[in-house]
């Protein structure tokens, strides 16, 4: 007996309601666009300045917390490329993140003296490999099947990492020391907490700017068109499989980068981060912050982590319950996320 549902399919999920502009509005466009850009960049600079000053004014605990927010934010931002811009729900980011982390670990343990850039390279290559697998499947599966498959991928890597104790350290993970921030022949400085923070800020900011550039490019426009209406985009003549593959690789690389940063920050790699729940949390940051905004997921990560931190002080054991309830309420009542209403502004 089959239960195949014959119900009318939902419109493409994550469809961003397109706001069409009439000709009359275009006249004021140029001026308001300049105004918007001004406000945007001013806001951007202020926030950047705050992030840079942070380690000088915050106590160590909060400084570290902020750095972690940025790293998780980078992970969530990478996921936004798929969810928010291409319309592909992925639960596989823990795999990219984990491989980035373990790749960096591999470089820092096996190659002496520990080299920062080598760690990044190994990490990115590791993430790219996984992304390659996922990308292959992404072109053949739609929606739910893709989501479940990416989830399974996280678990496959989790199991491999967890059980292959000789190589990955199994349950206990790997520990290693932080490499110096060095350009051979020019300088070499040790990573103090402040310098590490600034390094992370620099990497995340550059990643954001780069991703922003990409999403606003013709390539990015095609991705968004795939999200809006895949069939129509294909009918127009775009090879959407290729676009999807690139989107997944891009997303995977930046997620892997986040993994490398995490390894640098904490000096250990553990299988817990490859468990699919991490992917789930990443998606939560995206939705809370607002998909399709790039910056939203970072805000979402901040919100979630702060909430968790705050609640865990009062309700030590069961703080995740109110967090979960708040999340559910947001999904039901505020699906556009915290920054959803700013989406136009952030994407011009």
């Amino acid at each position: 007996m089959s239960f195949t549902s014959g119900n009318t399919p939902h419109p493409n999920p994550l469809r961003v309601s397109a706001e069409r502009e009439g000709p009359a509005e275009r006249e004021g466009e140029g001026q308001s666009r300049r105004q918007r850009a001004l406000i945007y960049w001013t806001g951007f600079s202020i926030i950047l300045a705050l992030l840079v000053i942070a380690p000088l004014v915050l106590p160590e605990f909060w400084r570290r917390f902020l750095t972690e927010i940025l790293i998780w934010g980078l992970l969530a931002m990478s996921s936004d490329i798929l969810i928010g811009y291409t319309g592909m729900i992925s639960f596989g980011h823990s795999a990219f993140f984990g491989l980035g982390m373990y790749g960096a670990a591999a470089a820092l343990i096996s190659v002496q003296p520990p080299n920062l850039w080598l760690a990044m390279l190994y990490g990115l290559v590791g993430a790219a490999t996984v992304a390659g697998f996922v990308a292959y499947f992404s072109t053949r599966l739609r929606d739910i099947y893709f989501a479940i498959t990416t989830l399974i991928f996280s678990q496959i890597f989790y199991v491999i990492i967890f059980t292959w104790t000789e190589v990955t350290g199994g349950e206990n993970g790997l520990t290693f020391s932080r490499p110096p921030l060095a350009i051979p022949g020019l300088f070499s400085i040790r990573f103090t907490p402040e310098i590490l923070h600034w390094f992370v800020v620099a990497v995340v900011t550059l990643s954001y700017l780069l991703l922003r550039r990409i999403t606003q490019s013709p390539f990015g426009m095609v991705l968004q068109s795939i999200r809006e209406n895949e069939a129509r985009t294909r009918a127009i003549g775009y090879p959407i499989e290729r676009y999807k593959i690139v989107a997944v690789m891009l997303s995977g690389l930046f997620a892997g980068l986040a993994g490398v940063l995490y390894a640098l920050q904490n000096r250990f790699a553990a299988p817990d981060f490859v468990f699919f729940l991490v992917s789930g949390e990443t998606v939560i940051y995206n939705v809370i912050g607002g998909i399709g905004t790039l910056v939203g997921p970072i805000v979402g990560a901040a919100f979630f982590l702060l909430l968790r931190e705050g609640l865990s002080r009062f309700l030590t054991e069961y703080y995740l319950i109110p967090v979960g309830l708040i999340f559910i309420a947001m999904v039901i009542f505020m699906p556009q996320g915290l920054l959803g209403f700013l989406r136009r502004w952030l994407n011009q």
């Binding site: 195949t4 119900n7 939902h10 499947f137 599966l141 739910i144 099947y145 399974i152 999904v331």
Partner: protein, 294 residues
């Protein structure tokens, strides 16, 4: 061939029965999931937690009454009601929204339920006593009676579900709503009520599985995680919304895993199910046991 002969026959037999037993429980969990997906296209991420809470209710009722069967009935009922409550509060408001939203909502529910269990019962695992101990001899092996009973009971419950759906007015209502929700309404079928009931039935089945499986492992708040993943795999491999398919897939995958655990550790044996999923998605995406539509 030599390779296969090197495995002692009794091991093979035990694993076959183990595979069928686990497969039947998995089938019970997956049937609920498939029923829910078929009628409302919701991938219920919280299904594993319903399973887990069923086991806990079983623990409590067993401690209070000393009777396993009352515990089983109570757990099914309580979790069915919990399912109805979850549906009404989180999924009904989301009717008509996209599938990502419902996955996230049920993911949120699973987070809440898992931590609720952690809070109420603590991290230490509990145990459910099996209703009867004792082994029977199969050839020259001792195999516990209880495991066999679970398999039979699961089969009975699934059979009852099948009969309910095939005959009887409510079965027709459920199947009609699954096939065409709009026309079902136009025919006077109280669709909002049907959706709630189906979710409750699915939840109840998960709860029952929890109690049945309880004696085989420790009952703790992370029990659900393994099962939800396997259940997803089974539902996809069996063909989304295909009840018979998910049962066949459950047994198929559990058997493969049972055999695999002869060579590798159980933790690694789960890779088998992942591989089956990937192969299915590559070559028979509508379901392993469903003929690919031309």
């Amino acid at each position: 061939m030599e390779f296969l002969q090197s495995i002692p026959f009794d091991q093979l037999l035990i694993q076959t029965i183990n595979g069928i037993v686990t497969g039947m429980i998995l089938a019970l969990v997956a049937s609920g999931l498939t029923l829910i997906f078929g009628i409302m296209e919701v991938v219920n991420f919280a299904h594993g937690e319903l399973f887990m809470l069923g086991a806990y209710v079983g623990v409590l009722v067993l401690a209070a009454t000393g009777d396993f069967w009352i515990a089983l009935a109570a757990a099914s009922l309580v979790i069915a009601l919990l399912g109805a409550a979850v549906y009404l509060m989180t999924l009904r408001p989301l009717l008509g929204r996209d599938s990502l939203t419902t996955i996230l909502a049920t993911f949120g529910v699973s987070l809440v339920l898992q931590n609720y269990a952690l809070w109420q019962f603590g991290p230490v695992a509990r145990k459910i006593q099996e209703p009867f101990t004792g082994h029977f001899t199969l050839f020259y092996l001792d195999y516990p009676w209880y495991r066999l009973v679970i398999a039979l009971l699961s089969a009975a419950i699934i059979g009852a579900l099948w009969l309910f759906l095939k005959f009887g007015t409510y079965g027709i209502w459920i199947r009609a709503t699954t096939q065409d929700r709009v026309m079902a309404q136009a025919m006077g079928i109280p669709v909002p009520w049907v959706l709630t009931v189906v979710f409750a039935i699915g939840a109840g089945m998960a709860g029952a599985s929890g109690v049945l499986f309880g004696p085989l492992v420790g009952v703790n708040h992370t029990m659900g995680l393994d099962w939800i993943l396997k259940a997803f795999i089974v539902v996809v491999v069996g063909g989304m919304g295909n009840l018979a398919g998910s049962i066949a897939a459950s047994i198929f995958i559990s058997l493969l895993e049972a055999y695999a655990s002869l060579w590798v550790s159980p933790a690694q044996a789960v890779i088998v199910s992942f591989v089956v999923l990937i192969l299915t998605l590559l070559f028979r995406p509508t379901g392993l046991f469903v003929p690919t539509p031309k």
